[in-house]
């Protein structure tokens, strides 16, 4: 057991899989010699060689297309997109190819890729270093989408993603790489070293895809969250004193609908939070799921707390970010709403 920051836990997962599986290769922009702009592959080229960990040309479409071909050959590529904001040039290979290969070839060819990318804001990255495009991936049949909120989960989920025989999009909340975050940028961050969930086993372990985790048990309202918003939701619950049950979804597809149903059936109230823009965000699918599964349990309308339907602004990012104040206000509203 070692305490690790989230980027270190991610590196540990990749390291242990490179060690276990000779067919695994790692590549992307600046991931080789340099070790990645967020250091997630630091030292791995030195340890495993250029044959298995290397830099690529700057072409997200090329990176994913190459990975699809390598997967068809029988390798297990783990690629990094430097920021999720730059995945769009690679979407055709991801949607039309990686996600379709098994289906259209009736299993003759498959694409066991893992596509890692940092998501979310809070680092003054402006509109092209802050996006959260998870909703797009979850609309694509044939893709799985995973997003951790702690170093422990990051390692266990990433190992499961790499071992999965289908393409998995692995989203890394960049605001959490170095520490837990309660949504208050002015407060000093709690480094993972001082956080219980910063304890990460050194050995190999996996967390199955599709199982949510209850971060805070509560009786009055269910908060569905993932990634950076999990810590924000916990902070909002603490501040408002609302007895919220904070469900960390961890995997968006497959989705742990049983855990969602259990919690909302109990609380009868639900607040859904994400950092992405609201319209057609993953919160919409969650809201649909909850009302399909729990309609007769719902006491009050489900609420969404999300990023605004605008690009992520640079200077005003904390007015954009759905912080504890906004989540707290929603918690109060659902508690006070007429039933």
């Amino acid at each position: 057991m070692t305490t690790m920051a989230m980027n270190v836990a991610i590196r540990a997962a990749i390291d242990s899989m490179l060690d276990r599986d000779d067919d695994m290769v790692v590549f992307g922009e600046d991931v080789g010699y340099f070790g990645g702009v967020f250091r997630c592959t630091d030292g791995l080229q030195a340890k495993y060689g250029e044959r298995r960990v290397f830099d690529t040309p700057i072409a997200e479409g090329g990176i994913i297309g190459i990975a699809v071909g390598m997967g068809a050959f029988g390798l297990r590529p783990v690629v990094e997109i430097q920021f999720a904001d730059y995945v769009y040039p690679g979407l055709d290979q991801l949607i039309s190819e990686a996600a379709r290969l098994r289906y259209r070839s009736a299993g003759e060819f498959t694409a066991p890729l893992t596509v890692r990318m940092p998501v979310g804001g809070g680092i003054h990255g402006g509109q092209t270093h802050s996006q959260s495009p998870e909703a797009l991936f979850t609309h694509v049949c044939g893709l799985k989408t995973v997003i951790p909120s702690t170093p422990y989960d990051a390692k266990g989920l990433l190992i499961a993603a790499i071992e999965d025989d289908d393409p998995v999009v692995f989203l890394e909340p960049k605001r959490l790489y170095n520490g837990q975050f309660d949504g208050y940028p002015d407060r000093a961050i709690v480094p993972w070293a001082d956080h219980p969930l910063g304890d990460v086993p050194d050995e190999y372990y996996r967390i199955p895809l599709g199982e949510a985790a209850i971060r805070r048990a509560g009786a009055d309202v269910t908060v569905l969250a993932y990634g950076t918003m999990v810590g924000v939701a916990e902070a909002a619950a603490a501040e408002t004193g609302v007895d919220a049950e904070v469900v960390d979804l961890r995997s968006l597809l497959p989705l742990d609908t049983a855990a969602i149903e259990r919690s909302v059936a109990k609380t009868g109230r639900c607040v859904i939070v994400h950092e992405a823009t609201r319209t057609s965000g993953f919160g919409a699918e969650l809201m649909a799921t909850v009302q399909e599964l729990c309609f007769y349990h719902l006491e009050v309308p489900i609420e969404r707390v999300t990023g605004w339907d605008t690009p992520y602004p640079h200077a005003q990012e904390w007015d954009y970010f759905p912080g504890p104040k906004r989540v707290g206000a929603a918690l109060r509203r659902v508690m006070e709403a007429a039933t």
């Binding site: 067919d23 290769v25 044959r51 298995r52 690529t56 040309p57 072409a59 479409g61 090329g62 297309g65 190459i66 990975a67 699809v68 071909g69 390598m70 068809a72 050959f73 029988g74 390798l75 040039p89 055709d92 290979q93 039309s96 190819e97 379709r100 290969l101 098994r102 289906y103 259209r104 070839s105 009736a106 299993g107 003759e108 060819f109 498959t110 049949c141 044939g142 799985k144 999965d164 025989d165 289908d166 599709g210 497959p254 989705l255 609908t257």
Partner: protein
């Protein structure tokens, strides 16, 4: 600062002939048979630049093999290639007819281009992987892949290994080294490079060969393929089938009026060959050269196959709307089947009667295969793949939400 002059003009390339006009292929630069040099396979891309403007041809007007590219190849092999091309053509004709009869929803013919896929299929080794477009059925036929299996895919019947999921012609035949065809243009081009890089990473000996049409070279994945192939010296053959047309747009719309497609290789330091795609022996020779180059760690080769799409783009297309009806007849590089047959005759390995017999035999074979395949079902009789297969193979294991949806479908039935 410059002083500002006349108004700018907008240039839109125009084909040499439109419907009603005389076909005109004077825009093609055609080197004579044997004229284009043949460097060793370890030549660098920079040293090979001139080949991108040449035209590798082997067969002369008398049907004899001439020049440095004349391959060492026996008549038996050539007759096999001839049979495969004749079979491909008969297969196309029959399947086009079947589509008109409503037995399949769609078809795409390869008339005039058969040599490009057939010859390379017989050159590459077992285990190599071909990343085709929808017009390389010749590859499968050359490898004697069962015609019945191909037809079952076209008819989407119960024996279709792809469970009716894919449109006709979108074959996937791993055992014949034939990668699953995508409906999205050019995606396979970079995938082939990735497959080849993987083979190198694994220290394997297998190489890849990827195909794209001249029109689809404009897609991003063409550039991705060349960039990655060059940077990592991938053991791959990058085939550009320049059949002059991309549905209704002629090769100039893809930039072909400004420079050859083979020359696209130059800027990446990749060796680029321009080859007569209707000259079976030239296709063999250039494919061998590129394959040896790849297999001996000398890197990728881009080959522009100069040919002509004699068929309509697909059964949804009517070429008479955008090109002279008889343009194919004026094509200066002839018909690959006739030219190979003429060569075999010229070297005393073939004659008229044997050809007649071949055609008749092939027609019988195709007819028999069609009869059998139709027996398993066609779009007409509705003996189609099972509806429950819709939900298979989306993932390795079917997740809960797909099981729920399948149950929902079952309840409705």
């Amino acid at each position: 600062m410059d002083d500002v002059g006349d108004p700018l003009r907008f240039h839109v390339p125009a084909p040499s002939a439109r419907p009603g006009e005389e076909p005109d292929f004077s825009y093609l630069t055609i080197a004579g048979p044997g004229e284009t040099r043949r460097p060793d396979v370890d030549v660098t891309g920079v040293e090979a630049r001139d080949l991108a403007d040449g035209l590798i041809r082997v067969l002369d007007d008398d049907g004899l093999a001439v020049g440095p590219w004349a391959p060492d190849i026996d008549a038996e092999h050539l007759r096999r290639g001839l049979r495969a091309m004749v079979t491909t053509r008969a297969f196309d004709d029959r399947m086009l007819r079947a589509q008109r009869q409503g037995k399949s929803s769609f078809y795409m013919g390869s008339r005039g281009e058969e040599a490009v896929s057939v010859a390379q299929s017989l050159v590459l080794a077992e285990g190599d992987m071909y990343f085709p477009t929808y017009r390389q059925q010749g590859w499968l036929i050359a490898r004697d892949w069962p015609l019945v299996d191909m037809m079952c895919q076209l008819f989407s019947n119960e024996k279709d290994r792809l469970h009716g999921r894919q449109m006709p012609v979108m074959y996937s035949v791993r055992d014949a080294g034939f990668f699953t065809i995508s409906g999205n243009l050019a995606t396979q081009f970079v995938q082939g490079v990735g497959w080849a890089m993987a083979s190198a990473i694994a220290g394997d000996t297998r190489i890849a060969s990827a195909v794209v049409g001249e029109g689809a070279t404009a897609e991003a994945d063409f550039h991705h393929a060349l960039t990655f192939a060059a940077t990592f010296r991938a053991p791959v053959i990058l085939n550009v089938v320049n059949n002059q047309w991309a549905i209704s747009s002629f090769q100039g719309i893809a930039g072909g009026d400004e420079s050859t497609f083979a020359s696209r290789a130059i800027g990446y330091g990749i060796a680029g060959l321009r080859v007569d795609g209707n000259d079976y022996l030239a296709v063999v020779a250039a494919s061998r050269w590129a394959a040896e180059r790849a297999r001996t760690n000398h890197g990728p080769t881009l080959i522009e196959w100069v040919t002509y799409r004699a068929s309509a783009h697909s059964t949804s297309d009517d070429p008479s709307k955008y090109r002279p009806r008889d343009e194919w007849k004026a094509w200066p590089l002839g018909d690959p089947v006739d030219r190979l047959a003429a060569h075999l005759v010229a070297i005393g390995e073939w004659d008229h009667d044997r050809h007649e017999a071949l055609v008749a035999d092939v027609d019988e074979t195709v007819k028999a295969a069609a009869k059998e395949a139709e027996g398993y079902g066609t779009l007409l009789d509705g003996h189609l793949a099972d509806r429950r297969d819709i939900f298979e193979d989306v993932f390795a294991e079917m997740p809960a939400h797909l099981r729920r949806q399948r149950d929902e479908m079952d309840r409705l039935a």
